[in-house]
Subunit: 615 residues, 2 copies
């Protein structure tokens, strides 16, 4: 199994670790130290060796920042994690603050005195982050100091080794293009920008460029590494040699100079005077820029040049994704069929998550494929737990699915040909008439938003920030909303959250053909229930609609699993929305019914769930 | 009458003026010179003394830039003006380039040689503009040089004097707040930002702050002037004394130090060392920042602090605007009633525009009020002329309204209590069945977009860029679109185009209660017809919709005039859209029918136009 349901949090050592850290700070004449939940690559998933925030505070969430001062320490978390953080930390050691109430920097500015020195680890902080913190601290008369060694690493005696997960080559027929071709394109781009080199620190970018996949962190097939692409010679790849078998090493050696990660710093310094080096200030460690500048080269800020080509999936990647989604849709539908047969009160959130993983594994095997991993910890949540939109079930929080509740399952898979991410919300047993009316109103509004985005036509240069409102209008009109983005990009057998495009207020990158994003509006009633409907959608090539003047982009939905008809109120849908839903269910049935291994019950569930809506 | 219909364009002197300018450039060792259509205040409407671009090129549009090099000269215009510019300029002297094909700077970069010096007038260019141009020129090895005197002014022998239009005080009961109170608030804001002064160069901001209105430029009651607001003493106002009668001078002298504009430069220099001066790099002349820096003070970039409070209309301003809109709605409805009675083929675009101005004047007088000005040159356009969305009728372009055409009239008025802006599109006579089907499809889609925006609920912090898509979706779905923003802000007896909020892709300022914006989607079929439906809408205070969880902002429509029922296809409207339209027409009738001076025909037209839609 690829996921566990224990709470790995341990705050019993927080007080002593905090004391040790404070002693170290005092020795270095530091008034405070900033501990982000980050690694050297600014990845969402980090290896155990980079779980410094968890080691110090006990908090295990995927985002947060602690600030330690001489006589107080605070953990800042976002809205997803306020409840979890409060439960996990030792409150005698750490105060928990919601970053919406106060940002770490604003908090710090209130606490510091003129002349204070505040330490940070430049490997865990981007230049953009440093710049905005430094400006505010300097304004208040304090100084932000880049530390050459992280005091936590010095105090952390049983710190795990950095991972050495095996690397494998991602075949050209799945990648759609050879690594050599991609590298040549990057060299040309450097020439056009009159830059001599670009530094890559995002392991997703490196995986895409060199057509490799790894196994260093959970749920994302990354090989943690750094790279420098040069305009006029082969790139350098800094990767632990133990990750490479001979075949992989030989293939990579044809493309790049191979070096141990320990040689990265010297290589950055060696870029030398008169050299222009592209560097992503919003995505790469400040330490990288400092080392480049130390060597006399000039930093030119530019966003990661791999981000856009990686986001625009080519025909082979889209074909792979389609195949992965059909396989995954069979598994999810079989799971929903299984769940439909279980009596209310007999299945827990963990039971359900385990069953889904088991069915995904079995379905992939019957399909001649393999489940490589889940793409993230499943959000298996019923009743009030589903109202926490990033809930992760543990033995402690585990609830039984009771009659009349809504059960929400957000899950995904990593197959070699594609990464999936899908959410369905279903009614457990029967609900009272009043509850059903409320559920249906909310569920149908979420569905209307989902359909509006799925059906949208839009001209070139339209961004996700512009389209986001389409998914929210049916909720806004009723005084409702949801507190997360409507959609995120997704990788090709890579990270389940991938930029640069988003369907969200902050998504200012234009949507381009081949980009895959999620379409996942929701509704959450705190302490009561949660709803989310998520499919992945691919941006299609522009075409002029019949009778129209101009080419328009649009989306193709590639996730297939029934949407619970019991929760839909047809009276709230327009004729066009019903037509979309009926067509979607017809496509679910057509795409999934080929599978030869269904039980009679599974096949019956599929057929029954995909009937057209009658208004 | 407040507008003329002649083409003031004169390109007969272009060649000789260009030659004189080139001689002057050569003497100063300049390879080129940039001539924007701008004045020292970066206003949309400029006085005749600032019409340098028109003097040089003959082009009379409201936006454009010429670049003059030793052996070529190019005029850059946006999509509104490509046709007009091509018709107005002497093509032997100037090439006309659409700015969407090539920006002036990109064009310049292609033309210049290493070491070239390109001149610009720092009074006609903002710091942001200078910065982006300078970066690209420097990259190409050339230099952007701020000139202390504009060579056009030296060559322009019969240049008109700067205007000295009379200033009057805008009464507190219309402004809603006293100037003294507004100034005190600005001083506090400076203290909070730890800045000693802010420079105001936008005459709209100065008009709002000091509660004055002027008459220096057409269609906007501006008193061209500059101001410096100090943290610790009374502001300084730099205004030509001839604009002030004794009463105005006494009132202003109580609020500010009064100075001639010629003293402004010295006052900027005198701000002196150690002083932090707020300056709007995107809205104020580069010359202002240079003078401040010359005196040793520090420029702190910050957007004009008046922009937001001016945009958020207070209760008195909204009440004034409502009254102005009802008065204006009576006039527009009377005009539509008059037009409805004219036989097709009997009225020209100029006849119609004159009639509307005449009815506005008469209606205001009967109402005990006064039409102070039109708020812009009326866009009175029929058939193919209406497909040019910023068409201005001249004797040369004038067309007769023929049967079967769509006539589009976009116009507005300046009353002391408010500024209006409204567009209606009506069918002239009868159209063939095919034409009517096409008109109705397009008109109804535009109307659906208009209604979607008018009905929108949205949470705090939502920007116009997010809502813009609501007005476009019904067009996008059919492969149609329009090439202008959906809405602009509007002043209180001030500029008809006012920032900072917009309903457009670029409108990133959050909409706040009291802001007024236009709601004006359209559709244009080049060479054939044009459609636009425009009302003004005010952002309401947030409230929780019945049954909802969260407070939502929404819009109140304040423009009242019938929307042509003959052009609506009820089958394309949802029940909610029909309900909106019927309620809107009921409000038009209820708001306008009180007026005691209608003729029977006018009253009958109003009643008939406001009947509910039957599907």
């Amino acid at each position: 199994m690829f996921q566990t349901y224990d709470d790995k949090s341990d705050a019993t050592h927080s007080a002593e670790r905090l004391a040790a850290l404070r002693t170290a700070l005092k020795e270095q004449n530091l008034a405070g130290f900033i501990v982000p939940r980050a690694d050297e690559h600014q990845s969402e998933y980090v290896p155990p060796s980079a779980e410094r925030l968890s080691w110090l505070t006990g908090f295990t969430g995927s985002a947060g920042t602690a600030i330690v001062l001489a006589d107080e320490a605070t953990l800042f978390v976002d809205g997803r994690y306020t409840v979890q953080a409060a439960a996990q930390v030792d409150k005698a050691a750490f105060e928990v603050v919601f970053i919406g109430d106060k940002s770490p920097t604003d908090w710090l500015v209130e606490k510091i005195k003129e002349g204070d020195r505040i330490g940070f680890d430049p490997w865990l902080t981007t230049r953009s982050q440093r710049r905005s913190m430094a400006a505010k601290l300097e304004n208040a008369g304090a100084e932000l100091v880049a530390l050459s060694e992280n005091p936590i690493d010095l105090a952390w005696s049983d710190r795990p080794d950095t991972p050495t997960g095996a690397v494998h080559l991602h075949p050209d027929d799945l990648a759609g293009r050879s690594a050599a071709e991609k590298i040549a394109e990057q060299k040309e781009a450097l020439a056009k920008r009159r830059a001599q080199a670009v530094v890559l620190t995002d392991p997703s970018s490196i995986a895409w460029l060199f057509n490799i996949r790894g196994s260093d962190v959970p749920h994302t097939p990354l090989a943690l590494s750094f790279a420098i692409v040069h305009q006029d010679k082969a790139p350098d790849l800094f990767i632990d040699g133990r990750k490479l078998s001979n075949a992989e090493r030989d293939a990579l050696a044809d493309l790049a100079g191979l070096h141990e990660p320990g040689e990265f710093a010297d290589a950055l310094r060696a870029l030398g005077k008169g050299t222009k080096v592209l560097y992503d200030a919003a995505g790469s460690a400040e330490a990288v820029a400092l080392l480049v500048e130390e060597g006399g080269a000039e930093i030119v800020e530019a966003s990661d040049p791999i981000a856009l080509p990686k986001a625009r999936k080519n025909a082979a990647e889209i074909a792979g994704s389609r195949a992965a989604h059909i396989r995954d849709g069979v598994a999810v539908t079989r799971f929903l069929a299984w769940l439909d047969l279980q009596p209310a009160g007999s299945v827990s959130e963990i039971d359900a998550a385990k069953k889904l993983e088991e069915i995904r594994t079995e379905t992939a095997e019957l399909d001649g494929s393999k489940l490589e991993d889940v793409s993230f910890d499943s959000i298996s949540s019923t009743g009030p737990n589903a109202a926490m939109n990033h809930y992760r079930v543990t033995e402690k929080s585990n609830r039984t699915l009771e009659a009349g509740e809504l059960y929400l399952i957000d899950s995904g898979a990593q197959y070699r040909d594609g990464t999936t991410d899908i959410t369905r919300t279903v009614l457990v047993g029967e609900a009272s008439s009043d509850r059903l009316t409320l559920y249906r109103d909310r569920f149908t509004r979420v569905l209307k938003g989902h359909i509006a985005l799925a059906m949208a036509n839009f001209p070139k240069e339209t961004s996700g920030a512009q389209l986001d409102v389409l998914a929210r209008t049916p909720l806004w009109q009723a005084g409702l909303d949801f507190d997360h983005g409507t959609g995120h990009g997704i990788g090709s057998f890579l990270a389940v959250h991938e930029g640069p495009q988003r369907i969200a207020k902050s998504g200012h990158v234009a949507l381009e053909p081949g980009m895959i994003v999620s379409n996942e509006p929701g509704y959450y009633r705190p302490g009561d229930f949660g709803i989310r409907i998520e499919n992945l959608i691919v941006v299609r090539e522009p075409k002029v609609p019949v009778g129209g003047d101009r080419p328009m982009l649009s989306f193709e939905t590639i996730s297939f699993a029934p949407i619970d008809r019991r929760l839909i109120s047809p009276a709230l849908l327009t004729a066009a929305e019903i037509a979309w839903l009926d067509l979607y269910h017809a496509r679910v049935r057509a795409s999934l019914s080929f599978w030869p291994h269904y039980t009679d019950a599974e096949r019956k569930f599929l057929e029954n769930s995909c009937r057209p809506i009658v208004r």
